[in-house]
């Protein structure tokens, strides 16, 4: 949260920031690679009009992506400010990859352990990883997890299956846990 008042230019226009060139290269490679695969990944229906071909819209979009990616890369090369090979930014991107892993771990554990227990453990664990040490904050995180589960699964009845561990609970409690927690 910055204490600097934003400028109109910050909202209306853009500047090139560190790491921009990594991004530019990545989108050129992605677009070019996908465009090269168009013959393999889509079909050409003989006798059908161009606009009705299954490959028409992928072709248009990938050609557009590739053209824009190349232009963006060229702009990035010409940019005067910041668009250097900023390794610090690349490191931040790599550091971020930890959190999709946390997320996926949560996704895979929920069907095994159950939504409520996993969430009540996951929230304080991640909070601890983020540097919170006070028992009050960790307890708040666990409570927040419980509230989220009760609100969404208990009240709003969103479709999150019961955990495999619930099978070992007594019948009445098991049904309740599967339905509401």
């Amino acid at each position: 949260m910055t204490d600097k008042t934003p400028k109109l230019e910050d909202i209306a226009a853009a500047e090139r920031l560190g790491g921009d060139r990594y991004f530019a290269i990545a989108i050129v490679v992605l677009s070019g690679g996908l465009l090269a695969l168009i013959g393999d990944q889509t079909q050409w229906k003989a006798g059908s009009a161009l606009l009705k071909q299954p490959s028409f819209w992928p072709g248009i979009s990938l050609a557009g992506m590739t053209l824009c990616a190349v232009l963006y890369f060229l702009q990035s090369l010409r940019a005067e400010r910041y668009a250097t090979w900023d390794r610090r930014e690349a490191v931040i991107w790599l550091r971020c990859l930890e959190f999709p892993i946390w997320f996926m771990a949560y996704v895979f554990v929920v069907p095994l352990v159950g939504y409520l227990p996993t969430t009540v453990i996951f929230c304080p664990l991640l909070a601890r990883r983020m540097g919170y040490k006070s028992p009050r904050v960790l307890l708040s995180a666990a409570l927040m997890g419980a509230v989220i589960v009760i609100l969404f699964k208990g009240f709003l009845q969103v479709r999150v299956p019961g955990g495999a561990l619930y099978e070992y609970l007594p019948a009445a409690l098991r049904n309740f846990m599967i339905l509401y927690l």
Binding site: G19, L62, G64, Y106, M130, V160
Partner: protein, 496 residues
């Protein structure tokens, strides 16, 4: 008048009233927390609303959309941090007023200007409805295709200085939408022989990844911050009437909000930017702008609050969402087999009217709520950012996983979360991806449908509305290219 009464009848249900209350108050709270915003909240809640009646689900989402900007003004005015991105210009004059010891006056002005903008847009909608109902049936496949194309062109052009990357992201969105089984020919496109890709990439999964997960990653990676806030002393009632001392600014800014909101692909930023610039130009004290000018604050808040109502016009009348939040709402319509577009205006005008009235009521509810709860909301602003990240990550799981209980959806959302994170770090726009996906699908379907009646390319624009839309697209592109060339020449001259 009958239609208005019919609209009230649709709203007169306990579950709709509860949805209005939850949506509007929830929206204010969410808007007041810097780093969350309406898009994240709507993305997370979207799957949960699928089990409700369309009017209930849409009212909750509309409540969040319409009220988040009210809440976003609080941290913008008091701690110089916009609660939502579109409150950025509010910091310009709101915070200097707080520094002068006029925080209470600034908040009252922000609330009353927001209320003015919100009500102004709803009145415009109600007045315009009969006109829209008569024009909408003239939109056939060709016209809707061209309106969607116009939306994409505008989505690119409004990103000044970022047009190239915005165009790339629009094309990327169109490409994502083509992945999966092509229903017309039953052939696979870019599925890489993976079965989970045959059904395509779900819009909600992408939305949750790009908005919710990416925001969680940004907060978790960033420094932990917990802003200090001082309570506002005294009541907020007395400043409410001050907005009427600047009727020209309030009306013009709300007008900008309505017009910009109606045009697909433009939205709050442009409305705010134009109204602020306009208010500054016509002010007797333009030098005060940015230093705590009440007119600046009114321009910012009235314009951004006039947008949500107006943004419903292209969505409801044509089925063409103009920005990300209405694109998300479109999925609620589809889930319930309510197809927005000309038919909706012809056959279910009472439903449309109910949505307008819901917007009207929620503006009143929010104003009343804020007058009594501002100091309480200051506690919410103080939630540490990394803790918020943990909360959003946990909530994002509900949104993605509850859709189809698919781990693949979660993997795709995580990938898009990372893409969104990188885009946010580079301060590049995210919305063009969503617009590309939604409008790309509309364009593909409508182009195929219109080909049956088109023999030559000229047949495509041989109807008045199609011709006007085509001309608008050409003129906008030509003007944009001219501006680019002019800027390039000016830049070269500066360097020479």
């Amino acid at each position: 008048m009958d239609i208005v009464l019919d609209g009230f009848a649709i709203l007169a249900r306990w579950d709709v009233v509860a949805a209005l209350l939850i949506g509007s108050i929830g929206g204010v709270i969410i808007g007041a927390i810097p780093g969350v915003g309406a898009a994240v909240a709507i993305a997370i809640l979207l799957p949960a609303t699928f089990s409700f009646d369309p009017i209930v689900g849409l009212t909750i989402l509309l409540g969040i959309y319409g009220s988040s900007m009210y809440g976003g003004a609080i941290p913008a005015v008091l701690i110089n941090t916009p609660g939502t991105a579109v409150n950025a210009l509010t910091t310009y004059d709101g915070y200097p007023m707080t520094q002068r010891g006029e925080g209470r006056r600034a908040l009252s002005l922000a609330y009353s200007a927001s209320f003015f903008g919100g009500i102004f847009s709803v009145i415009c909608l109600i007045v315009l409805s009969p006109l829209l109902a008569s024009i909408a049936p003239h939109f056939g496949s060709r016209e809707i295709f061209l309106a969607a194309l116009l939306g994409l062109v505008l989505a690119v052009i409004v990103h000044r200085g970022q047009s190239v990357i915005a165009a790339f992201l629009v094309f990327f969105g169109i490409f994502i939408n083509t992945i999966g089984l092509h229903t017309a020919t039953l052939t696979r496109r870019f599925t890489f022989d993976l079965n989970f890709l045959a059904s395509g990439i779900n819009l909600i999964v992408v939305v949750l990844g790009l908005f919710a997960l990416s925001q969680a990653f940004v907060l978790l990676v960033g420094r932990d911050e917990s802003p200090e806030t001082k309570p506002v002393s005294g009541g907020l009632f007395q400043g409410l009437g001050e907005v009427f001392k600047y009727p020209g600014t309030a009306t013009a800014s709300s007008g900008f909000g309505v017009i910009m909101g109606m045009i697909p692909g433009v939205g709050e930023f442009m409305a705010q930017f134009l109204s602020y610039t306009f208010a500054q130009r016509r002010s007797k004290t333009p030098e005060e702008f940015g230093k705590g000018a009440p007119e600046g604050l009114i321009a910012s808040e009235a314009s951004n609050n006039a947008v949500p109502g107006a943004a419903m016009i292209p969505l409801l009348a044509l089925g063409v969402p103009g920005e990300a939040l209405t694109a998300m709402m479109l999925t609620v319509f589809y889930v319930h087999n309510v197809v927005p577009g000309p038919q909706l205006f012809q056959n279910q005008l009472d439903f449309v009217m109910a949505l307008y009235l819901a917007l009207l009521i929620l503006n009143v509810m929010v104003l009343v709520f804020l007058l009594f709860s501002t100091n309480m909301l200051l506690q919410v602003i103080r939630i540490p950012t990394r803790f918020l990240g943990v909360m959003i990550l946990t909530l994002a799981f509900v949104g993605v996983y509850s859709l189809r209980n698919s781990a693949w959806d979660c993997i795709i959302a995580a990938v898009f979360g990372f893409i969104g994170f990188v885009l946010k770090r580079l301060r590049l726009p995210i919305v063009p991806i969503i617009l590309g996906m939604v409008l790309g699908q509309i364009m593909e379907v409508k182009l195929r449908a219109s080909m049956a009646r088109v023999k030559t390319p000229l047949d495509f624009i041989d109807r008045p509305i199609a011709f006007i839309l085509f001309c608008a697209i050409v003129i906008i592109i030509v003007m944009h290219v001219r501006t680019l060339i002019k800027n390039r020449k000016a830049e070269s001259a500066k360097h020479a």
